[in-house]
């Protein structure tokens, strides 16, 4: 309840809404950093002409350090923020009519910068949900297959190792391509500039202006600003 009051204060005084709490933001940046390490140390095995960079296994050491970070981070978060985790996970799997509307409006929005085109969105819009869902599903695929390739390299049946490598590659392609889309739509797309307005500030500082929240996440904003029965966690 105290945090709820706190939030009103923010809205009133600074006209800002908290969008991501600190643990969530820390997790995001740790995972982002680890992802970049993992992406490039994996990419060089994908491009034969860059293969020489992997010689003598040193990139595998980096890859494994990245792997430990990217697996341990969410696990620690799950254990210490299980309520927020549960809400966050649910968010990825609850889909409705609004999402279809969003997808229909997305080309107008992203190509023609028509900000009126978008139907009101929840805490996460459909595009964010798509990426988040993909991170969860492909994250499990790439994590489990990677674990098999690491720990059971000499003991697992050959077919399991072979298909793990295949699955790791599929997830790598999906996550790798979508990672660029994610970065682009968060900070590079003309509508996301200047940086202080939207996505960047929500992940960097955790807060967005009330105006931005109203324009981009109307349903969430209404819920939060009316102080409906909600958990204190901002990143639901």
């Amino acid at each position: 309840m105290e945090q709820e009051v706190e939030r009103y204060k923010w809205i009133k005084m600074e006209q800002e809404v908290e969008r991501y709490r600190k643990p969530t933001r820390i997790l995001h940046w740790f995972n982002g950093g680890a992802f970049i390490i993992l992406f490039f140390t994996g990419l060089i095995l994908f491009i034969p002409s860059l293969g020489f960079l992997a010689v003598d296994s040193w990139t595998r050491i980096l890859h494994r350090i990245g792997a430990v970070i990217i697996v341990a981070g969410p696990l620690i978060y799950l254990l210490t923020n299980w309520k927020a985790s549960w809400k966050g996970l649910k968010e990825a799997f609850v889909w409705g009519k609004d999402d279809l509307e969003w997808l229909k409006a997305a080309p107008r929005y992203y190509f023609l910068c028509d900000e009126e085109a978008m139907p009101p969105q929840e805490h996460m819009n459909t595009g964010q949900k798509l990426w988040w869902l993909m991170v969860i599903v492909m994250g499990v695929v790439i994590g489990v297959s990677g674990l098999i390739m690491w720990v059971f390299k000499t003991t697992a049946p050959a077919a399991l190792l072979q298909w793990s490598i295949f699955a790791h590659d599929v997830a790598f392609i999906a996550l790798g391509a979508m990672f660029f889309v994610h970065v682009f739509l968060s900070v590079i797309h003309p509508l996301m500039r200047p940086l202080r307005t939207g996505a960047w500030s929500s992940m960097a500082r955790g807060k967005v202006s009330a105006e931005y929240a109203k324009a981009h996440h109307r349903k969430w904003y209404d819920r939060v600003s009316k102080g409906m029965k909600e958990s204190p966690s901002a990143d639901e």
Binding site: V55, S57, R60, C113, V181, I188, H189, P190
Partner: protein
């Protein structure tokens, strides 16, 4: 002109001189093992045992038969290891073998995962993953290259019974085929010529006294489906997906920036 080794399992007495010669020539240390109640030793291939003779005991009509096979790289024409090697460390020698540039090895171990004969081995460290693969390279290690000097591989050189021969692959195919026919007519009705057609033709071919599965060899070895699905299907798709994603984002940026600028023109100010 492709070269090959022909191994005659019937002529082999399992003296294992080839094992020793392999270690000697390639400067591989001996391994300390314990007596497991068999002459077969060491128990398995390793990064410092590239060749060993495998012993198989078979019972036929109440009679014990003792079978020997050579266990080492088969030097396939369609080699899975070459297909999956990401650094080009494994490559086709001009004479057909699967040669290996150890300096280029990243230690990923994909060659071991995909080899239909389970041949490549590594000294992999479980935690760090630091590793170098090793396998028979047909005596073509730089500095120890017998083939380039016009010699036969060390194992062939040392074989006292003539079970191993080295020569032009085409000729050995004929020799092996005739030998199998002769065996079939002389008390080995199931005699089998292995490696003539398998995986596009192996560069180590076996004359066997019985069908390959009796010797523990895969009857119809194939490049694993996962290797094809991975290298020939998913990776090209990956290139397309990655390329199209970046291209699409670039196009989107250009169009969206135009659109945004137009919206911000004076007179049409919306924000």
């Amino acid at each position: 002109m492709a070269k090959a080794i022909l191994y005659d399992a019937i002529k082999c007495t399992a003296c294992r001189a080839c094992q020793v010669a392999c270690k000697g020539w390639n400067q591989l240390p001996a391994e300390e093992t314990t007596n497991r109640g068999t002459y077969e030793n060491p128990p398995d291939l390793s990064f410092q045992t590239w060749l060993k003779i495998k012993f198989t005991e078979v019972k036929r009509n109440g009679k014990m038969d003792w079978l020997f096979t050579r266990q080492a790289c088969m030097h396939c024409t369609d080699a899975s290891c070459v297909k999956v090697c990401p650094t080009g460390a494994l490559y086709y020698h001009e004479l057909g073998f699967v040669a290996y540039d150890k300096d280029l090895c990243s230690g990923c171990g994909y060659c071991a995962d995909f080899c239909p004969f389970n041949v490549p081995r590594s000294d992999s460290n479980l935690w760090t993953g630091v590793a170098k693969m090793d396998k028979c390279v047909f005596c073509t290690t730089p500095g120890l290259d017998r083939i380039a000097e016009g010699y036969e591989p060390a194992c062939v050189k040392t074989c006292p019974t003539g079970a191993l021969t080295f020569g032009d692959r085409d000729e050995l195919v004929v020799v092996g085929g005739e030998r199998v026919q002769a065996l079939q007519a002389n008390g080995h009705p199931n005699a089998y010529f292995y490696g003539d057609k398998e995986l596009g033709g192996l560069h180590v071919m076996y004359v066997l006294g019985d069908s390959p599965d009796v010797y523990g060899l895969p009857v119809d070895p194939k490049v694993p489906a996962a290797a094809i699905a991975w290298k020939d299907v998913i990776q090209p798709i990956g290139w397309a997906v990655g390329g199209l994603a970046l291209l699409g984002l670039g196009i989107n940026y250009i169009i969206a920036r135009e659109a945004k600028l137009r919206r911000e023109l004076p007179g049409r100010k919306e924000e």
